[in-house]
């Protein structure tokens, strides 16, 4: 127990924050402008007119571990026979699969789950790609190494809590790490004009993915931010309410929990005033979203992106979690009901990005605890390891597969038992691809993904996977190093204002 926790920050090396002050998006990369203008007021004035560089990453997390070998299914005669043999009662009928034609089919034919026609269309139109058999790895690992212990396994392999955490931290050899989007915001957060609202916005409450060492996320719902009833109202009652709350939250609390609670309340009240004003001023989206929770979450992400300029955002991440994928039972029926929701929501969101003209600036990707066993337990599948995932957006080189779709027969060279497959692509490679696109400089990649050198040389001229078109620019080389840290986004709180540290 001794000092366990203290180690948390140090090994990730994020003791600094690259400092860009409050430059507008358009100013990013312009050293001349940066060196001459460092005035908050001027930049804010610029920001209101800029239409400059913007990028967003949207993470859709399938909570529970999605059975993705029934999302993307081998469909040619030989490979379907192999699939049907291992999946037994979990196999989808060959005839029902929706055909797709990946640019590099790796010698096999494939189809999608029958209930995702929108994904079939997005794939055919080149807006969607699959990354296959991706998962958590501490270091590259063969079956022999898995068995004889000469390569390290992720901690808590096959366990929900651990693997959810590792997918969100990409540091599967530790249990106390921050999230990789959080670390990205640690490095890049200062590029946003607005330091009152975090770069990272969650539609699904607290999560590890967006929690950095100095950055936390801001939580909203499908209806936007939430404001305190009566706060700031004109009646005497509301004046008493408002004054009392302001006074109580301004107190200097000796108990660290009390102070943290006060900070969260204060931050939530203040951020709402700003956020709600920006959303309220938007013209309505023309794209129609379904009434499902997932579609409505995506609709609010679209609206937040629509408000990027008034919110002063150049870079944003969004986190949406959709639970209920732990199908030990009834995997076929459940996926039949749940996959159409995913398919529709992704398609609607893509249409909204096109409507807003930001389809090349927004990349959506999926993640999950783990893949599931290829073999059946009689009704469903159990926890496993590698799985297949979706990347969608205008910058995606879609209509293609990345990574390697594995052999599915039992006892193949990746099978640790029951069809629990060792991933052939690590989450580090997956996320490095996205982080570089987002604007993390190659020399900062190790801060965001500390294990990346085990899989990829950040100085390499070739991208980790080649899924997304190269970033037009990265922030790293464009601005000076070693500046002081300003405006850290505290958990759900407004930024630089008066958190008293005692």
């Amino acid at each position: 127990m001794k000092d366990d926790r203290k180690k948390k920050d140090a090994p990730e090396g994020v003791s600094r924050r690259n400092f860009l002050g409050t430059a507008s998006c358009a100013a990013v990369g312009s050293t001349a402008l940066f060196s001459t203008v460092l005035d908050l007021g001027m930049f804010n004035a610029l920001a209101s007119t800029t239409t400059g560089d913007y990028k967003a990453l949207v993470c859709l997390f399938f909570g529970g571990g999605i059975d993705s070998f029934n999302l993307l299914v081998p469909s040619g005669p030989a490979e379907y026979a192999e699939y049907a043999q291992v999946r037994q009662d979990l196999a989808l009928p060959q005839i029902d699969l929706l055909p797709i034609a990946p640019a590099t089919p790796q010698g096999r034919q494939f189809g999608l789950h029958p209930n995702v026609p929108e994904l079939q269309t997005l794939f055919a139109n080149g807006q969607l790609a699959f990354l296959n058999n991706v998962g958590t790895l501490v270091e590259p690992m063969t079956l022999q190494q898995y068995r004889d212990g000469t390569a390290r396994r992720p901690l808590g392999l096959f366990s929900h809590s651990d693997q959810q955490m590792h997918w969100q931290t990409s540091i599967p050899d530790r249990r106390n790490a921050s999230g990789w989007a959080g670390r990205m915001a640690d490095v890049l957060g200062s590029v946003n004009n607005n330091q009152n609202i975090s770069m990272n916005i969650s539609l699904s409450g607290q999560n590890t993915f967006q929690s950095g060492n100095i950055t936390a996320h801001y939580t909203i719902t499908e209806n936007g931010s939430r404001g305190l009833r009566g706060y700031g109202g004109p009646s005497l009652t509301d004046q008493v309410r408002t004054d009392s709350i302001d006074n109580l939250l301004a107190m200097n609390y000796q108990h660290v929990f009390e102070q943290a609670f006060a900070d969260r309340m204060r931050g939530a009240i203040d951020a709402h005033l700003e956020f709600s004003a920006a959303i309220a001023a938007l013209p309505p989206l023309q794209t129609v979203f379904s009434q499902t929770q997932l579609s409505q979450d995506f609709r609010m992400v679209a609206q937040t992106i629509q408000a990027r300029q008034s919110l002063g955002m150049c870079r944003q991440t969004f986190f949406i979690s959709m639970g209920g994928w732990d199908h030990h039972d009834e995997v076929l029926v459940n996926q039949e009901n749940m996959l159409p929701i995913v398919s529709a929501a992704l398609s609607e969101f893509n249409a909204a990005m096109v409507e807003l003209g930001v389809e090349n600036d927004v990349t959506t990707f999926t993640a999950s605890d783990f893949g599931r066993t290829l073999t059946s337990n009689g009704r469903g599948s159990d926890h496993a390891w590698g799985g297949n995932h979706i990347i969608m957006g205008g910058a995606v080189r879609g209509g293609d597969f990345y990574g390697q779709y594995p052999n599915l027969y039992l006892g193949n060279s990746l099978d640790t038992g029951r069809g629990r497959l060792i991933p052939t692509t690590s989450t580090d490679l997956y996320f490095a691809e996205l982080a570089l696109w987002y604007g993390v400089a190659p020399q900062d990649l190790e801060i965001v993904l500390p294990n990346i050198r085990r899989f990829y040389d950040p100085a390499s001229p070739t991208p980790p996977l080649g899924i997304v078109s190269p970033a037009t620019q990265s922030f790293g080389p464009m601005y000076p190093r070693g500046g002081n840290i300003t405006g850290s986004s505290r958990p759900d709180r407004a930024g630089p204002r008066g958190r008293k540290r005692r």
Partner: protein, 530 residues
Amino acid sequence: MAVAFAVIAASCGTLLAQSQEPLTPRRASRFLAQATLGADWEEIQRATQLGLEGWLDDQFQQPIGYHEPPLQAIENRGVVLDSAIRRAVWWEQVMESPDLLRQRVALALSEIYVISDNVTAVDDNVLGTANYYDMLLSHSFGNFRDLLRDVSLHPIMGAYLSHLRNERSDPSRGRFPDENYAREVMQLFSIGLFELNIDGTLQRDGNGNAIPTYDNDDITEFAKIFTGLSFDSAFPDFRNGLPVWDRPMEMYPPYHEPGPKFLLRGNFVPASQTGLEDVESAIDNLFQHPNVGPFLARRLIQRMVTSNPSPAYIRRVAEAFNNNGNNVRGDMKAVVRAVLLDPEARTWPTAAVSFEGRLRESFLRRVHLARAFNAANLTNDFPIDDRSAPVNFGQRPMSSPTVFNFFLPDHQPQGDIGDRGLYAPEFQIITAVTAIASADDLESQITSGMNRAPLNPLAVVRLDLSDEIALAPNVTALIDRLDLLMTYGNMSGQMRQILVENLSRLSDPGERAQMALYLISISPEYAVIQ
């Protein structure tokens, strides 16, 4: 961390003496904030008279306020049950049953032995879910081994973690036993991921690494044990028998994995055993694991007293688990007593920079208000509307999003708390949304009742603030009373001054009393039970 605990260690000596001081109302109020879901003025006075030991002894003897019988009575009247009615009965028992301590412990257990009505099988089978809760109630003061066995054999748990109708392997068809329950019964219900010392600290191997308690091979072995279980139907049929949700699952030998199975720590079950004997052996194997004491101790202490118990506190409770004084292992009464009477629990909060205690569970602020101010209606039932609770509070009993509960024991919020190496599980559900929405929900509860616009206006469940309204003309007297009820007489002078100054601007006594309660209920000082 080590530094932090030194503070407690240093103060414990003197506070051991303090815990034997006569019980004042404010000490009683703080104790009841740990030992109950909320206490009203009368209960505080009663506990003050009985003393801690006397109050505990009295509570251990109270009859059990079961939840299934009242539900059954409603169904017998021809009402079609649903989960809203089940929640109304939960409220009824929590509000009216005199077994306050047992109801508190059972709720804590429901956040460890998690089932959730976000799974259809749980949501639909209202009587079974209430029966599961009753099982937790009955074992709250029983023996842990019975608790672990009955959790494992309950069909609601079987439906939730999918070992209901889990079949033996069939290699010819490439089918293997479901591993879900096998994993969670170890990770979440009994021993956890790593070998522990009795004080809850991690054991380390020669390289300084934590030592896993089990690996995936152990899980596949335990998965074999939890095969062959299905409903105890009148016409037994493993796959198609009629569901029976309020009796333990029955073993169907043809569907149970044959052969010997390995247990943990070098034990195994022989091939000659019956399926149910296999289950009993596995439960024994887990029950006897040295981890269980510190594992359970930390979780119960976190639910009832403090997020950051010292290793010594965990050790004392774990020792009570291991031996209740009469060589009985797993005596829950002894564990509960040890949790609540420990010097570290009875320490009066210090004025210095501190971290003792815990954040009140979000939803339990709603429950506490209802209990402290005797929420009631004119129809003598509790049709309380908790539909919005999962959004507003991030929490509602037996509605956890996953088997990992609403928050994790090891959650470390960013910022000062995390920087100090402290845990604060309940902060995991305090977001920019719930921080605000829960405050609004409490405001509604105080001003307009706990069920919006029921068909029968007499059914509105309201807090009884008559005593507070009577005191309201004297702001100081009003705050004094609320201080004892809400912040166990520990409100700071500065907060009191803020309240007195602002509330004096409101002249209507009713409005003043309501505003006073609202402001305290959303204040940082109320949010933390030190």
